[in-house]
Amino acid sequence: MGIVSGAVSLGLLWAVMTIGVFISYRILDIADLTVEGSIAMGAAIAAREIAAGGNPYMATLLALLGGMAAGLCTGLLQTRLKIPPLLSGILVMIALWSVNLRIMGKSNISLLRMKTVYTVFESMGLSGTASIIVLGLLCVFLLISVLYWFFGTEVGSAIRATGSNPHMARAQGINTDTVTCLGLLISNGLVAASGALIAQSQSYADVQMGTGAIVIGLASVIIGEVLFRGKNFYTRLISLALGAITYRLIIALVLKLGMPANDLKLFTAVTVAVALSLPTFLQRYHQSQKSHGGVE
């Protein structure tokens, strides 16, 4: 039971990140590697603020803003300097490594016995894990509601149109450059906020934290889409959160079954590769079925 609630609590915090990845990967149709840097950046900013005695909510908000700035940088590299999206993300990700070290002043910061965003709930008598679940649920619910509203507005529609078909978007008078920057800004802001929440839940921030984050995000998006298949935008967002939780449950399970922790990234990468190639395989399978059936 402890393992399950631990996985659920962690999954809820990663759900915020997963939704951020969904915005770049699915809505804007960009595989944005910036997230590897911005999740660690969020953790770094929050940890530094909190370790210096700052307000944890303020610290988390600052993390969000830091991530937004990182996303904007990637957006500007792509749109103003015409650097390909993948490379833009890599550049900012690498740059953030140094930035994050500067923010923290060292490679990790401990937050043990510091006041975090979860402290209020703990003082109300909840356990550590329960506090994380309560705050995580609150954040995810709030986030899904706000995004559901936002992507239904004129600006939100413009972002969706740009991701779906930039030619059409420009022909309809949408400034696709601005809108792409805005989408990346929102996406990385969420990822950084998630990083801040995760760092506070585990009581430390580490500059390494982002390594492989994009793959975890993608795995969660895909698991969510495949297993829960949201019909409209609202249920799609919910399925992302469920995907992030399911991913954590799967990881907890394979660890329990004896997989060495060092193999986790390999496991995740293979899972994502299989999931991404599934449509291609299915198509080939159907085609071969058809061509066999067509002889009759």
């Binding site: 936002f150 413009a158 149109a161 030619h167 008078g173 949408i174």
Partner: protein, 264 residues
């Protein structure tokens, strides 16, 4: 309404792939003119339309729409006064979005997009009416993703989107070329309807000589980046395909080379 003055466009200048696509194009389209644009493969028709739309800048010359110089304006800003439909049915609509949402995007062309709803209930009712007039049964499928529509349905929708907010100039680039003959006919009919109902200044590229003659009040022919024929009025009305081929031969000293035009 549209005034193009001496535009030049060279692709890949200074490389071995250098290609002069437009040389000294001058054209004056008064309000309400419906021009069909025809020419061989690679004559520069699409380049001409793209230059007007601002997909890329021109090397020389100026483009004015309704008196406003748009030569240096980016594509998304020119969109405020232009309606466009492309050859590829995939290009003109957002496949992942609903029919209604696509129309709503088009109805905000050239307007500030803020935090108001992307589509309102009242708009939906208006769009339902407009879609009903297309007679394609789309009015009952407003919440269907456009990606599920056929090419012809998509082009009809794209036409509606291009004219929803009355454009100063409508640019149609072989918008029926990817469709089967019957669907193409239907889409052309819809185009004709929308153009005459809204009295739109139109530039329509077609590869079909008969269509070029049958539609519009003026015909422009391009060859190797230049305008070589500009036929209006009564002369245009009485034009035949044979006339056109002969006049093309005389002016260019070549046979008309557009595989698709001769086949159809």
């Amino acid at each position: 309404m549209l005034s193009v003055d001496g535009i030049y466009k060279t692709f890949n200048p200074g490389t071995i792939n250098e290609k002069v696509a437009l040389r000294n194009i001058c054209a004056e389209l008064p309000e309400g003119d419906f021009v069909t644009l025809i020419g061989g493969n690679g004559a520069g028709k699409s380049t001409f339309l793209n230059a007007v739309a601002g997909v890329y800048g021109v090397d020389h010359g100026s483009i004015r729409i309704d008196g406003m110089d748009v030569t240096r304006l980016p594509e998304y800003k020119r969109a405020a006064v232009l309606g466009r439909v492309f050859q590829d049915p995939m290009m003109g609509t957002a496949a992942n979005m609903e029919i209604g949402e696509n129309l709503a995007l088009a109805s905000r062309r050239g307007e500030h997009r803020g935090l108001k709803w992307g589509i309102t209930r009242r708009e939906r009712e208006t769009y339902r009416q407009l879609l009903r007039e297309l007679e394609l049964g789309l009015e009952d499928r407003m919440t269907v993703k456009v990606g599920l529509l056929s090419g012809g349905q998509r082009q009809a929708l794209a036409l509606l989107m291009a004219t929803l907010k009355k454009p100063k100039v409508l640019l149609l680039d072989e918008h029926t070329a990817a469709l089967d003959p019957r669907t193409a006919e239907k889409v052309l009919e819809i185009s004709e309807q929308l153009i005459s109902a809204n009295h739109l200044t139109t530039l329509m590229v077609t590869h079909n000589m008969r269509d070029a003659i049958r539609h519009g009040n003026r015909l422009i022919m391009m060859h190797e980046g230049q305008i070589i024929l500009d036929i209006k009025g009564a002369e245009k009305k009485n034009l035949t395909v044979e006339d056109l081929l002969e006049r093309f031969g005389k002016v260019s000293g070549e046979e008309f080379a557009n595989d698709r035009a001769l086949l159809s």
